[in-house]
Assembly symmetry: C2
Homo-oligomer: 487 residues x 2
């Protein structure tokens, strides 16, 4: 079987939206009297408070996203849920009322599609919430509930809220708020499959899957893929797997994963010793200690060898997310780290995903701090925004940046150079992560021979010499800088 992944993803630039924090619509602002307890938009996020971002607000900002070059949006959960992150679902068929409900979602989906953009939703199929109807029934009726076998009940009584008593049910990470489904029950599986099908039929372009490794029932994700793709063969299925994802990336399950295996070395290389370890330790990724260009090259080649190329092109690459500190905070405010990492993100095979606000320099530590309200324009870092805009533009312009071969050309000290090649289009990307000016000298074979080299982005001085079989290059880079060259 040859592996098939959706073509559009290979050409997508994603934007990840945490809906409570991206934008509050005019409508929502008028209705604040109905939601008197919303937290102030600019106050530090808390575990329990809502800020009132909504999907109407996203619609109002689609111009902004499109102008930035975004052509796909991935939302953290939007279904009715009694938490600001909405990871414990109360009803899989209802969009949260604060977000504007199903009505706002339909309007959003239409608006996104009218612009030729794509929309991916976050599916939380491992666990539900204490208020989820079927679990709630077990809380109310105990052993008499028809839905007992939908969960992992270990004894009676259940203790959903009082943590001085045993919960007596299986819960994700032991959190009582997140009762886990019993995926061995075929009725549960069918229930979940129908949710997946329903929203694909409504027109969404794919599912991001929350903690899919927790669902270990053989065949679950294969059936999920088969049923989703039967409705929309181009639907994107991307799993939240932080480490080696080979068992899910065999072509029968996911099209890609959240590529933290890209994120971590990229941070360790570009931010290096600037990384505030307290903001990244104890997570499932390792953006520390600092690594050299050659170590980075090794890591990138490892990750590229891990999965088939067709999968690589539909990985969801990222630098940070709602589950991590933001890069600028990890790098303790060092903007160059963010710039260099973003340059690597936008030139890597697979779909880049920009976590809302990163493009304007929004900071934030581990959650909930990484989920701040999108800042007002006065607080934007316009240099960072322009950096993103230009890189996205180049990615859209050059096919090689999206689906071209990836080849490490040089990796010494702080300097990392690689090429992306597609038919006659060759781009070279060079980064100096070090604090001194550096020069990269290397020869490459097999490139198309041109007589000129163009600097497409960034700063670099380049000398080159064509010989019969190879090209000899010398690239001078200032400290903490990078460039994209074409020739």
């Amino acid at each position: 079987m040859s592996i098939q992944t959706p073509d559009w993803v290979k050409h997508a630039v994603f934007y990840q939206i945490f809906p409570d924090r991206f934008a509050m619509s005019q409508k929502q602002q008028q209705q604040r009297s109905a939601l008197t307890r919303l937290e102030p938009w600019d106050a530090p996020p808390t575990y329990w408070g809502y800020k009132g971002g909504d999907l109407w607000g996203v619609i109002e900002n689609l111009d902004y996203l499109q102008d930035l070059g975004i052509n796909a949006v991935y939302f953290t959960p939007i279904f009715q849920s009694a938490s600001n992150h909405r990871y414990h679902t109360h009803d899989y068929y209802q969009v949260d009322p604060i977000l504007g409900g199903n009505e706002a979602f339909k309007a959003l989906l239409d608006a996104v599609h009218e612009r030729g953009m794509k929309l991916v939703l976050d599916g939380v199929f491992n666990h539900s919430s204490r208020g989820f109807f079927f679990f709630h029934d077990v809380l109310e009726n105990g052993a008499s509930s028809p839905w007992v076998d939908w969960f992992h009940i270990k004894g009676w009584p259940l203790s959903p809220y009082d943590d001085t008593l045993p919960a007596n049910y299986g819960a994700w990470a032991g959190l009582r708020a997140l009762p886990e489904f019993n995926h061995h029950n075929p009725h549960v599986r069918e229930y979940l499959m129908q949710i997946a099908e329903y929203w694909i039929k409504q027109g969404i372009d794919g599912w991001r899957l929350d903690v899919p490794a927790e669902i270990r029932v053989p065949g679950f994700w294969q059936e999920f893929r088969d049923r989703v793709k039967a409705i929309n063969p181009n639907a994107y299925i991307v799993g939240e797997i932080w480490l080696d994802a080979r068992q899910w990336l065999d072509g029968t399950q996911f099209d890609g994963v959240m590529n933290y295996l890209f994120a971590a070395p990229t941070i360790a290389f570009t931010a290096g010793d600037r990384v505030d370890v307290s903001l990244v330790e104890g997570r499932s990724y390792y953006p520390y200690p600092a690594i050299s260009a050659s170590e980075y090259a090794q890591k990138m080649q490892q990750v590229l060898q891990l999965y088939p190329w067709e999968i690589q092109l539909t990985q969801l690459n990222l630098l940070d997310s709602h589950d991590t500190s933001r890069l600028v905070s990890i790098a303790q405010g060092d903007w160059d780290s963010l710039k260099l990492a973003t340059l690597l993100l936008l030139t890597f095979p697979g779909a880049p995903s920009i976590y809302y606000g990163d493009e304007v320099g929004l900071a934030g530590g581990i959650d909930p701090d990484c989920r701040r309200g999108f800042p007002p324009e006065a607080d934007w870092n316009l240099e960072i925004l322009e950096w993103h805009r230009e890189l996205i533009k180049l990615r859209h312009k050059y096919t090689a940046l999206r689906i071209g071969d990836y080849r490490v050309l040089s990796a010494k000290g702080g300097v990392y150079v690689f090429s992306r090649n597609w038919e006659n289009e060759t781009l070279i990307i060079a980064i100096n992560a070090g604090t001194e000016p550096e020069k990269a000298n290397f020869e490459v074979e097999g490139f198309a021979r041109n007589n000129s080299i163009n600097l497409l982005f960034g700063e670099a001085k380049v000398k080159f010499e064509n010989s019969e079989n190879s090209l000899s290059l010398e690239i001078d880079l200032l400290p903490r800088s990078g460039a994209i060259l074409s020739f």
Copy 2:
């Protein structure tokens, strides 16, 4: 302002269905593997168990109901709820999945309307459930929830399930399972009004309102009526008020109430000393001690004087319900009590409502026992069924029984005689609740003079004599018998 109530109700014979117990469809029976913990249909009902009756099952039995003469069905709650009685709503916009969900309801509503029948739903707007989304959000997020003001929060933390701690929120009858809405909050009121409107727009023919006296915010029920009637002027609004309901029956709120003021004296008169007080005491009605015919006459005249005639004709008259013991059990198995009371029910002004199963002699004590599974045909009391069928047929045949004047003609000892008159149609109903044969002698004025009297129903010997200004009647009744006469 003249009081307007829906004409169709004046001509309706209702059937009250407790959906978990009326009928399990073929479909549901096949799907029992998905609902492994359903209680056996014929086992005594419990507080916590489901039997799996569903709306597809109701559809399968519409022939039966229509054949019985039923032309309106009132359902106890059908919305998604984690209880077999479904009085604590989890989602007001979803019909419970065990009942077949919104799909089954739509099919039912269509099928009912195709037969020219009506359908009324039970609206529980005073309280919701612990799993109801907005309350669940308060449980999850505490004081940070945007929905705190939707309920009566008295302190933190809330204790929804552990009754060794104060609940810290207002709950109906102090039951933690039933958190009460804060109806002073205009957003709550709007939320509830929209539910009422939504289902009327879906095509239901009315709302039976659960514990409406608990909602004391001025204007609430007036607005409810106005908004419901704006969509369907013929929608029926009937409140669960057990005693004097004058404050709600002024024409600006309800069209009628559950007429326990009819039920209680009717039981006290027909069952008399047979009443098992342990099955009726401590409720909000008083079908004991035994009363004589004259006391019964007094009670009936009291209740008829309490409200305008237009309201009387759209009262919901009943003998028992899901909230009371069944009459045959109250009467300790005395079938005559049921027969005589049913005769009174079917000849009283206002819409009679037969609680599912009463017509085949289903027994049951206080709840949950009064909510048994509808019996298989082999267990039906066919005499009782025929008694119901004939009386319903007569009610449909004679306008006087539905909207004619009610006039007590005689009430002595155990014998109660009254007439129903409409234009030239006069019916006389006579009951001997006593255990000895009795004779009623009386004169009446103002009746149309006919030369013959017909026995339409039951047994009686009648002599009559016309004089110039009056009619002299003598009716011989066997013990514990009744009759309907026309002349």
